[in-house]
């Protein structure tokens, strides 16, 4: 897979700047959900893992790929679920009277 390095580096550069700008605005109130959400997003490694686990070129690659898919899946399912759970807890006003 001979690829052109420069376009990829441009993408990396621009994505980093977008990331810095977007995340700078996140309220400190939500820093924990932010971390669990980015954690789920970084499970995008699943893309590479799926291809390896599906192609099954060698036994070694199949095993490594399968474990990698499982590890990424843990983060995808767990990461989104806990972020959603956390955000449901942030309420502005009391609904029930003490």
């Amino acid at each position: 897979m001979q690829s052109e390095l420069l376009p990829l580096l441009y993408i990396f550069l621009l994505a980093t700047f977008v990331g810095l700008e977007v995340i700078r605005r996140v309220s400190p109130l939500l820093h924990t959900p932010l971390m669990s959400l980015t954690n789920a997003i970084s499970a995008i490694a699943v893309v590479g893992s799926i291809v390896i686990a599906g192609k099954q070129e060698t036994t070694l690659s199949t095993v490594l790929g399968t474990v990698a898919v499982a590890a990424s899946m843990i983060n995808i399912v767990g990461g989104y679920l806990i972020t959603y759970r956390m955000l449901r807890m942030f309420k502005k006003r009391e609904t029930k009277q003490p």
């Binding site: 977007v22 980015t38 590479g48 390896i52 983060n75």
Partner: protein, 465 residues
């Protein structure tokens, strides 16, 4: 499915991830952000599964997807319980999931290496090296962080002579081997040594880190996990991986910078400083403090117009947040204005206190950031400190020779009365004596946080403690 269509899916997925993070910036739109993130991930996974269509047509659908299916089921079976952990365990959970994310990147890198060696061009091998070193060092480092947060391992920093030299040599050796492999990718033996060194370095990196530095370190590991996914994107020529990895990398970077600023320390100091060792040999003079009973504390709180609660890790350890919420209810129903001042590094990960208090159903508009809390502080009648220490220590403002000098703190000493719930007079993580406790306006409430707050609530409810 044509390859173009898959590229379109990937592009849509990248856009979803950016929007997800953008909408996460404020509470009202945050849930929409999570949903968008899920859509982005579904698009990416769906697109990738379609990428395997030619294999499926050649070898049969079941044959191609069998391992993926099994891994999906296993991953979901572990992921769901991990998402159901109580909020006090969120730092551990986060560390553990950084480990899984980094492991996936490292394993994919290893598989790619064995599939392609020795026909690896320099650029691909370089990216592979970055992916694998970052992936495996983050894997063991995150496991170590998990062990320390779960208190399987000792939480205090362990330091020895020449530690930094040893650590850096291990890391440098790993990088040098990586560089050598760029020129000679066929050397599988050295490849394994590189992985081993990265794994060892991850462990050694966390050994000197103390509990108080965990927020910074967790954020930094978050960044590394993202960057290794990013490097995978360079290896696979996959732009979606680069975008998602870079977003994750920059998020971790920003959070760790915020954490460092909140402690007035640099990255190198956090990683190599061995902060948080108890500095003995300070003045051990006996000074008197005023202590108070739950009844007296309740009387002060009841008579106040405004109360600022300053929670810290001690509140999380004592699981006191639900009692604190009862106290909040009692005082609010008496017309007392109760707010919570949150220091950026309170707790064991960024934003830890906010999530705990939100779980206890304290409305989030009562959670105030440090800067705003300090503006209000001179008008506050009672500052109630629960399980926080160093972040309230006036030495950070006044004593130039103090190790925490220059660290931004919550100025509780400007409130009219200060009350501190504390188990004993032992110093906090930084091992620094806190002058605040000896002030005339300070009342020490000795006891377990959950227990003591519970007693105050009982008094306020009209019972006896």
């Amino acid at each position: 499915m044509s390859e173009h269509a898959i590229h379109v899916l990937y592009m849509a997925s990248a856009a979803c991830f950016i929007l997800a993070l953008k909408w996460l910036s404020a509470v009202p739109t945050a849930r929409r952000g999570v949903i968008t993130g899920i859509i982005g991930m579904l698009l990416a996974v769906g697109g990738t599964l379609m990428l395997l269509t030619p294999e499926a047509q050649a070898h049969g659908w079941f044959h191609t997807y069998r391992w993926i299916l099994i891994a999906f089921v296993v991953g979901a079976a572990i992921g769901v319980p991990m998402a159901m952990m109580p909020m006090t365990a969120v730092p551990q959970r986060t560390a553990l999931s950084h480990a899984f994310g980094a492991l996936a990147a490292g394993l994919v890198g290893t598989a790619e290496y064995y599939l392609r060696t020795p026909d690896l061009d320099r650029f691909t091998m370089g990216a592979l090296g970055v992916e694998i070193i970052l992936g495996f060092l983050t894997f063991t480092a995150s496991l170590m962080a998990f062990g320390k947060l779960q208190e399987i391992l000792p939480t205090r920093p362990i330091v020895y002579r020449m530690q930094n030299v040893v650590n850096l040599s291990v890391f440098a050796a790993s990088v040098l081997i990586g560089a050598w492999l760029v020129a000679h990718p066929g050397h599988t033996g050295l490849f394994l040594v590189m992985i081993a060194l990265a794994l060892v370095f991850g462990v050694m990196l966390i050994i000197p880190i103390g509990g108080a530095d965990m927020p910074t370190v967790i954020a930094l590991l978050n960044s590394y996990a993202g960057l290794s996914a990013c490097a995978m994107g360079f290896v696979l020529d996959n732009k979606l991986l680069i975008v998602a990895g870079a977003l994750d990398g920059s998020s971790g970077l920003i959070l760790s910078i915020i954490m460092c600023k909140a402690m007035n320390r640099s990255f190198t100091n956090v990683l190599f400083g061995g902060f948080g060792q108890v500095q003995t040999g300070g003045k051990a003079e006996q000074r008197t403090v005023r202590s108070a009973s739950p009844e007296e504390a309740a009387a002060f709180l009841e008579a106040a117009n405004s109360v600022m609660v300053v929670p810290g890790y001690g509140m999380a350890v004592a699981q006191a947040q639900h009692r604190v919420r009862d106290l909040f209810d009692q005082l609010t129903s008496r017309g007392v204005d109760v707010k919570f001042a949150i220091h950026p590094v309170a707790g064991r990960m960024p934003g830890h206190m906010n999530v705990l208090l939100a779980e206890a159903e304290i409305p989030y508009d009562k959670l105030v950031e440090m800067e705003d809390a300090n503006i209000e502080m001179p008008q506050v009648d009672v500052a109630l400190i629960i399980g926080a220490n160093d972040v309230t220590n006036p030495a950070a403002r006044e004593k130039k020779d103090s190790p925490i000098y220059g660290m931004p703190i919550i100025d509780v000493d400007k409130a009219r009365t200060v009350m501190v719930i504390k188990r004993s007079m032992n110093p906090g993580f930084a091992g620094i004596d806190n002058d605040l406790y000896y002030y005339d306006k300070t009342l020490m409430l000795f006891g377990d946080a959950k227990d003591f707050v519970g007693k105050i609530v009982k008094v306020l409810e009209g019972g006896t403690s």
